[in-house]
Symmetry: D2
Amino acid sequence: MNDDLTVSDIQAMLDQSPFIRFAGVECLSVDNVNLQVVMKQVMRPEMERTPGSGQWHGGPIAALIDTAGDFAVVLSVKSGVPTINFRTDYLKPAFTPALIATATVRRVGKTVGVVDVDVTDDTGQLLAVGRGTYSTKAG
Amino acid sequence: MNDDLTVSDIQAMLDQSPFIRFAGVECLSVDNVNLQVVMKQVMRPEMERTPGSGQWHGGPIAALIDTAGDFAVVLSVKSGVPTINFRTDYLKPAFTPALIATATVRRVGKTVGVVDVDVTDDTGQLLAVGRGTYSTKAG
Amino acid sequence: MNDDLTVSDIQAMLDQSPFIRFAGVECLSVDNVNLQVVMKQVMRPEMERTPGSGQWHGGPIAALIDTAGDFAVVLSVKSGVPTINFRTDYLKPAFTPALIATATVRRVGKTVGVVDVDVTDDTGQLLAVGRGTYSTKAG
Amino acid sequence: MNDDLTVSDIQAMLDQSPFIRFAGVECLSVDNVNLQVVMKQVMRPEMERTPGSGQWHGGPIAALIDTAGDFAVVLSVKSGVPTINFRTDYLKPAFTPALIATATVRRVGKTVGVVDVDVTDDTGQLLAVGRGTYSTKAG
């Protein structure tokens, strides 16, 4: 029996959350071997830093990092996991119609999972990096 | 001449940002001596973790930490400052109609400012803590 | 029965570790109600940043933060706890014969404990801050 | 004129610091294009967590992360840089005679540089990860 999670499985879980659905997070791909997910988030006016600038406010970028990191651990744990903590480093102002977040598990154990998240624009230019710790204890 | 920033000054700066205005961040108080700001954010349906639960998704909590921390540094620098990085630790699930964030500068220098942010519910129970670094270089 | 840990208890635990003993960490006080420990570390030549400068290298400061944070959680858990992760922010160059670290638990739960650590010189001037997460699961 | 830094250049800078020399940090390689350094640190008795265990205390691991991250930025800036902050995540207990730290710059700008550091044993097994921010302003 294969209990790998598919893009559709992850998207369905994402869409259960009003906040994530509002943010419009789309799951682009999953890799159950390397425990990696790729997600996309398209700009909406409520997420701009200054009006009409096309620049992302940092808040939605951090939120995307948290979400993408979380679901990378979900690939291993097979159910929702609470975030313990995460760090966001903004590397460049983010003027791009869509953010792409690639979250890769660095280590998952019985207590916690640790994930790295790279956020780029749609040309692959690195805009922000995140690192999060998630609880993997059975709930 | 007194160049202290008032609650109204900060609120006006907050309201310039579409994201912060959407989030509904309200400045409750400023302390120009201790470089501390207190901000409030009221739940709206788009910020729930699961539908009808009344629980905040972590994303808006992290975004509030970033914003509150930023404006604590603004009290010193007198203009907007970019976030370099910040860390969010979630301490308890946040079931509360309103988040209160208290941001206190720990050190502000010529390059960076470091801020601690405590997030509580409206009874003072601690829900999350943040720590951020902001660029203070003249732009 | 009172199972509060005393300064002597903590010092005995500290001294079991070759690294901590080499660093010369001394427990000054414990507060079992607020889950707070205060520790002191005196400069030794191997811990200087540059020869004869009297400036602490950042490494020993970070290590002291990790240790002090750990033992604040030990006050609650009553046994050694592994560090999951921690963050160190250096606020000022540390020219002081002795570092004082005050570690205060912000939240301790069944999975993790979160601790803030302030590092000052012996006049109380803030030099660095730390924030750590420790595993509290029964081993 | 080529102002690339060599392994010898970096080693000479490392050896100027009493703490780093005591820790025995050895520069194994430098990559001036990708801004990456690899460093090695061999166990000494003062760095054990418990006597005779062969396990590294977390303090020296964190210190190595800070140092390796710092020198990755040095490849770009060509002189010593102060650490602003860094995060250490311990992934596995470290029982190994030698730690290998690979530090890679993710972004270097006029104010700060951001670096990722992976720490492995000498077989390549990942033990800890670090992420640091360093000041790049001309002193």
